[in-house]
């Protein structure tokens, strides 16, 4: 290492220069509005810290490259300690900087620990891999039990001693995104189509609910199915022309549709009331039996008078909580069932290889259209629920960012795993609530997190749906030769799917979520075809 000192210094210098070029113009030179127009307010500390952080991180990677795991271990630990200390003290540092320092330290520590185990303790790499695969398998076996525990917990949350209105509110928010995530999952996770305009259906559902409820005075229990129906129909109408497209083109067209819907909401003022939005949307009643207000507004009796208990605003929130819980449960049961039906298996077959599926006689357009319609209808339900919970909607709520958030939930959850998506929704929606201090960094963290997840685990955190046998590993190297595959067909040459499965077409779609292949990049083949009917 010492003899390469010059090369290392040059590498660090270049890294520092690039980092400086990236942060200096935008962070240091902050433009401020003043009476004479813009002026520059120089802020040196944040950019110097950012550059230092990048250079230190690079140095950590260099240490790992030269197998100095002990130093790297100490460095990682020191970074985490320093971050923890800075967080608890009131040093004039940005919280974001501390979070980055901690995360970087943790990453370095973990990598160095593995390296140290391999080199210093002579643990074989394969044993670590096996241990990881075993742990992942154990985790996967534990998931049904864990899911059951979580469902019970969520079901009884309002009655637990520590629950509060705030907690229930966050719970409602998380469950709304779980609902959206499960809806989008049908398109992205099962049918394998990247929909960047899912917010369009969410918006259609919300506006359908609001317009029916406000203009025609229909009750929530009429509007909810109507909203779902309208969203589903709009999904079919939008889906019909675009489903011939594949891959990125499909993604961009759906993005275009999402924007068109939002612009229509803004500009078609006669119906949607334009940018002002629709306010005073009626709240749901207790199945048309009673309402949750303090004083009667209509002819329905009041909930608290009916039960003879004092009025509390909590009643409505508990009701809304159970409403969205029930909706989510319905969607989950529906999804689990449809996945084993022929249509569900056809989605997965199309996702894995649509040419092969077409040649086996599947009607690609019709199958994708069904996925699109169902998914849109779930989005519409979520939208109607959103409208009734907020009591106010405007086009502001239905921007592309919303689509991106739902998409990141689905991707983080592993595209196809219901449990994974629920966990991802809890993380992505719940964590910002926990770290309220950092709320302004929320979207930066979303963006950065999406990139990191893609680079680290392109198939999501809980990816059960890896093909059971892979011809090429993640970096595109050939693992083993398989029959029927010409060498020239390397993934480098064709931009088409790089994860060519050697699985027989009939086996892939039939394997249910719990029976997929290895987790992550593991090459272990452990297929457990439970419930396979194909």
């Amino acid at each position: 290492m010492t003899q390469d000192l010059r090369a290392i210094l040059i590498e660090l210098g270049i890294t520092g220069l690039i980092a400086a070029a990236l942060v200096f113009p935008l962070i240091t030179l902050r433009t401020i509005d003043s009476f004479e127009g813009l002026t520059i307010n120089a802020r040196w500390l944040p950019s110097v810290l950012a550059v230092a952080l990048v250079v230190l991180g690079r140095f950590g990677l260099i240490l790992l490259r030269y197998e100095r795991s002990a130093i790297a271990l100490a460095g990682g630990a020191a970074a985490m300690l320093a971050a923890a200390y800075a967080w608890s003290s009131d040093l004039p540092l940005s919280k974001l900087f501390e979070v980055f320092l901690f995360a970087g330290g943790l990453f370095l520590f973990a990598r160095a620990a593995i390296q140290w185990l391999v080199i210093a303790r002579g643990v074989e790499r394969a044993r670590i891999d096996t241990a990881r695969a075993d742990a992942a398998l154990a985790l996967r076996r534990a998931i049904p039990l864990a899911a059951a525990v979580v469902v019970v917990f969520v079901a009884f949350l309002p009655w637990l001693p520590f629950s509060s209105i705030y907690m229930l509110d966050v719970g409602i928010l998380i469950l709304t995104y779980v609902l959206l995530g499960w809806g989008l999952n049908i398109i992205v996770g099962y049918a394998g189509l990247l929909d960047l305009g899912y917010v369009a259906f969410y918006a259609v559902g919300a506006y359908a609910y609001a317009i029916f409820a406000v203009n025609f005075g229909l009750s929530f229990w009429w509007c909810l199915p109507l909203a779902g129906l309208l969203a589903g129909i709009s999904g079919l109408i939008l889906g019909f022309p675009v489903l011939r497209l594949r891959g990125d083109y499909f993604a961009i067209v759906t993005l275009g549709f999402g924007e068109i819907v939002r612009l229509v909401l803004i500009n078609w003022s006669a119906v949607t009331r334009g940018p002002d939005g629709i306010s005073s949307i009626p709240r749901p009643s207790l199945f048309g039996v009673a309402e949750f207000n303090k004083r009667a507004t209509g002819d329905l009796p009041l909930f608290h008078e009916m039960l003879g208990i004092p009025f509390s605003p909590e009643h409505r929130i508990i009701f809304l909580y159970y409403l969205v819980f029930t909706l989510s449960a319905l969607v989950a049961i529906f999804t689990l069932r449809i996945r084993t039906l022929p249509i569900g298996r056809a989605w997965e077959a199309l996702r894995e290889d649509d040419i092969a599926s077409a040649s086996l006689g599947l009607n690609r357009t019709r199958i994708k259209l069904v996925a699109f319609g169902i998914s849109a209808a779930w989005g519409g339900f979520a939208g109607a629920f959103f409208a009734t919970r907020q009591g106010f909607i405007s086009p502001e709520s239905f921007t592309f960012i919303e689509s991106a958030i739902v998409l990141s939930i689905v991707v983080l959850g592993g595209m196809g795993s219901l449990v994974g998506i629920a966990i991802a929704a809890a993380l992505l929606i719940g964590l910002p609530e926990v770290f309220r201090e950092l709320s302004e960094f929320r979207m930066v963290a979303y963006g950065g997190g999406l990139v990191l997840i893609m680079v680290w685990r392109p198939r999501g955190l809980l990816s059960f749906r890896e093909p059971s046998v892979r011809l090429f590993d993640r970096r595109g190297r050939m693992r083993f030769a398989a029959e029927g595959y010409a060498v020239g067909d390397s993934p480098l040459a064709a931009p088409a799917p790089t994860t060519a499965t050697a699985t027989a077409m009939t086996a892939a779609p039939a394997a249910p979520a719990t029976g997929g292949g290895a987790v992550g990049e593991g090459s272990v083949v452990r297929q457990k075809p439970t419930g396979s009917k194909g």
Partner: protein, 301 residues
Amino acid sequence: MAYFLQQLINGVTLGSVYGLIAIGYTMVYGIIGMINFAHGEIYMIGAFVAVIAFTLFAGFSFFAALLLVLVFAMLVSGFYGWTVERLAYRPLRHSFRLAPLISAIGMSIFLQNFVQLAQGARNKPIPPKVQGGFTLLNDGGFAVQISYLQIGIIVLTIMLMVGLNGVIHTTSLGRRQRACEQDKVMASLLGVDVDRTVSVTFVTGAVLAALAGVMVTLYYGVVDFFIGFHAGIKAFTAAVLGGIGSVHGAMLGGLLIGLIEAFWAGYFLTEWKDVAAFSILVMVLIFRPSGIFGHPEVEKI
């Protein structure tokens, strides 16, 4: 007629800007077959750096300031383009097809909000730097004008196009790019450094986007952190319209989109002009996904 001419001039100016951004999309798509969704944000960063640099060099004479601003914006955007490719796309070069696109969306959200955090959420105005122009035609009280700025934008765009064409067709760099576009494996077997070529392509696209950003800053005089998203989609539409992968197509598509937008805003309702642009995107993709100059995609079995 006069009104038509005026909208034509406005449309060509707007189209030049879209065309310059579209080249970045089309070159990247041609080489690695991915939609660089973060490209619009690179353009936005170019525009922001232009605002910052104009404020920083406020004491200089206009031409000195403009030169410095151009260099500054191109450098910073180039670095961003390089870094984005290195961090977010290169590790995913051989991953499954949607991974780079999702990563690009993440990068786009990240950059947009990073700029918002670093520079504040309000839009940034700069005083007009170039004023005046020619009156081409005076038709019953309606004067058709072309400003010096519009002339500058159009001339600079033409120069850049000619230059880029020269680079692609005569230099060794252009040859490497075309080789990678055709077959990356073969190119690397013949000694072309594919990674470096891809990086250079990203930097080229970013530099062109930065120039477009500087022009827009001068033209509209105001920049906010959200401009990258819509300009990005429209430029992508332009690239698709012209045939993605074709540099000439990108420029032509940019011009068409600019003209459509200007005429729509001039003759129909301004509020619906974005709907018109997005509808064109949808229509083109549905009816002629290969665009004007593109080659139809062949399904490989």
